[in-house]
């Protein structure tokens, strides 16, 4: 039986801007993924609990209020402890405050353990393509 990958989406921390992840969830479903949508104001631990419970393949989170670094420092380590070391971690949004170079944000969050980091505006089809290829590379998706 072909396994449908399970993807968790949500906006992390005290951030209630959830329109982006709602759109993303819809596109993911349209593309045949099983989606667990956590919406806005989701604490980092909840992503971990839900991922464990649903045996998820990837966590796609957004943050638009500039506190991502505070919310997500140590997130990858917590995933390892929870047995989620192989779960893909994607992050997108306004990740840092003030004027900064996008590359800096990308470098910083990749160092925190995120597999892919996206700027606030992206083509969702491109993100879905990245996800498919990463899942295939990890043997979590066929075809």
């Amino acid at each position: 039986m072909k396994k449908v990958p399970t993807i968790i989406t949500g906006t992390v921390g005290e951030d209630s801007h959830s329109i982006g992840t709602r759109l993303l969830s819809r596109v993911l479903r349209d593309n045949g993924f099983k989606v667990v949508e956590l919406g806005g104001l989701t604490p980092p631990e909840e992503f971990i609990h839900v991922a464990k419970e649903t045996d998820a393949d990837a966590i796609l989170m957004s943050s638009l209020y500039g506190m991502a670094e505070i919310d997500l420092t140590g997130f990858k380590e917590a995933c390892v402890e929870a047995g989620l070391q192989d779960v893909l971690l994607y992050l997108g949004g306004y990740l840092m405050v003030g004027r900064h170079d996008w590359n800096e944000a990308e470098t910083r969050f990749k160092a925190l353990g995120f597999d892919r980091v996206y700027p606030p505006e992206i083509d969702l089809d491109k993100a879905i393509e990245d996800l498919r290829s990463d899942l295939r590379a990890r043997g979590r998706m066929q075809g």
């Binding site: 631990e45 917590a78 402890e81 929870a82 003030g98």
Partner: protein, 460 residues
């Protein structure tokens, strides 16, 4: 005096065997005695000596064994290593559980144990190995790998397993034919963001009583007394907890700190929640235990004179001549100050130890840029509102100006990010008997608390 009201509370230390005699009826300490420790040869020699002193001094005849209990930090104390998964999570949780159980954590290992790690463990030869890793239902691979490695280690120390509960059956079968002692406790980190050290601490204490005291020759004391029931730091922690929280019908002091300066280590215990005291501060990291103990093995006032003097020099309050003078006088581990100059020297050493041990124990505030200005992040316990600080340990108890040493644990304007107590009443354990009240608390908590309240003298 009615002999039936006497209780004898003993501490087998690394340098001295100490004895405190309590009169339960009068709720007071009758006297305290000490003799050089003889744990290297025969622990009962020093014990007989203090018991003899007490018998002579107080004049009791035959006390039943049941009325004499002890704690011990002799023969190196309880030396443990902690093996976990992620350094800041299960590994740290394991270290905190072991420290809370009164152990000295000699080394901690994270992720998968390598053969080199194993060689190091054998070199260390710990008394107990704590194996943690994975939340319940979480990562199982690493703890199983580490269990497998430990089964084949030539070091035969008892293993306490306090990790992912899903791995229990497999770990049991790994160890089943090894003849090694293995005990399960609840996971020290059952979930992300949860610290659970109580069950693990109790398991460690039981192994201490049943095995470690035997291995170290401490249980020979049972020829004369009832039992060695806990490591000394646990006794101090028990007393501190009782003093803070009180018992039914006798109120405690509330949140407090205990600073225990010793020859080999300086310990700090805080009995406090440590939540942020300012609005807008966010707490990060593993949750802090209400009863927290930190041990600074590089801040003993006899074992680590060099380190302490370096710190004193860095802070700019030590002349070069003094440095050499202190080193030349304090060469022996059991050296006690004999004249004013030596007391002054001990004062410097103890002051540095208290200052740095306090700074390491207390939480810190870090500033980060947020969208609406700066965001304050707290790492560790905020102890700035703690109102009571108790000093114990020889170098403090017998100091000429204990208040000046103990003050070093208070908040300093030049390091506003360190959450040390701002305004607190300082007390001295002048009879050096906090440990004894921890022992007494096992059977007579209310009396132990009342005696402590009388015993602790406020310092101005």
């Amino acid at each position: 005096m009615d002999e039936r009201n006497l209780r004898l509370l003993i501490d087998f230390g690394s340098t001295f065997t100490k004895l405190v005699v309590v009169d339960l009826n009068k709720e007071e300490i009758v006297q305290r005695y000490q003799a050089p420790s003889t744990v290297d040869k025969d622990i009962t020699v020093g014990l007989k000596q203090v018991l003899g002193q007490a018998q002579e001094g107080i004049g009791f005849k035959n006390l039943p064994k049941e009325d004499m209990v002890a704690c011990s930090s002799a023969a190196g104390g309880l030396r443990m290593i902690s093996v976990g998964l992620v350094p800041s999570l299960s590994c740290e949780a394991g270290v905190r559980a072991a420290l809370g159980a009164g152990a000295k954590v000699v080394r901690s290992f994270s992720y998968e144990l390598t053969l080199l790690d194993l060689a190091e463990i054998e070199e260390i030869s710990p008394d107990i190995i704590l194996l943690a890793g994975g939340t319940d239902g979480g990562n199982k691979k690493v703890i199983l790998h580490n269990a497998e490695r430990l089964v084949h280690a030539s070091c035969k120390a008892p293993v306490v397993v306090a990790g992912n509960k899903d791995a229990q059956d497999e770990i049991t079968s790994l160890f089943s034919s090894s003849g090694r002692m293995i005990t399960f406790a609840q996971n020290v980190m059952p979930d992300i963001g949860t610290l659970n050290v109580d069950s693990c601490r109790e398991v460690i204490r039981q192994i201490f009583i049943s095995h470690i005291t035997k291995a170290k020759g401490i249980d020979k004391a049972k020829e004369l007394i009832n039992e060695v029931i806990m490591p000394t730091p646990t006794a101090v922690m028990t007393a501190a907890k009782l003093l803070a929280g009180g018992v039914d019908g006798e109120e405690g002091l509330g949140e407090l700190l205990v600073v225990d300066v010793g020859g080999a280590t300086t310990d700090v215990h805080s009995i406090a929640k440590g939540y942020p005291t300012h609005s807008g501060v966010m707490s990060k990291g593993l949750p802090e235990p209400y009863e927290k103990r930190t041990v600074e093995a590089d801040l003993g006032v006899r074992h680590n004179i060099d380190t302490l003097l370096e710190y004193a020099k860095m802070a700019g309050n030590l002349a070069e001549e003094m440095h050499e003078e202190i080193k030349s006088r304090f060469t022996s581990l059991s050296k006690l100050p004999e004249n004013d100059l030596e007391f002054q020297m001990d004062h410097i050493l103890a002051g540095v130890a208290v200052d740095i041990a306090g700074e390491r124990h207390c939480g810190k505030i870090k500033m980060m840029a947020g969208p609406f200005g700066e965001v304050l992040i707290q790492d560790g316990k905020d102890l700035s509102e703690v109102k009571h600080i108790i000093g114990t340990g020889g170098p403090l108890v017998f100091a000429k100006e204990p208040a000046k040493i103990l003050q070093k644990i208070l908040y300093r304007n030049d390091s506003p990010h360190v959450l040390k107590p701002k305004e607190a009443q300082l007390y001295l354990d002048r009879m050096y008997s906090l440990y004894a009240m921890g022992l007494l608390a096992q059977t007579e908590p209310k009396k132990a608390l009342r005696i402590m309240k009388k015993l602790l003298s406020p310092l101005s």
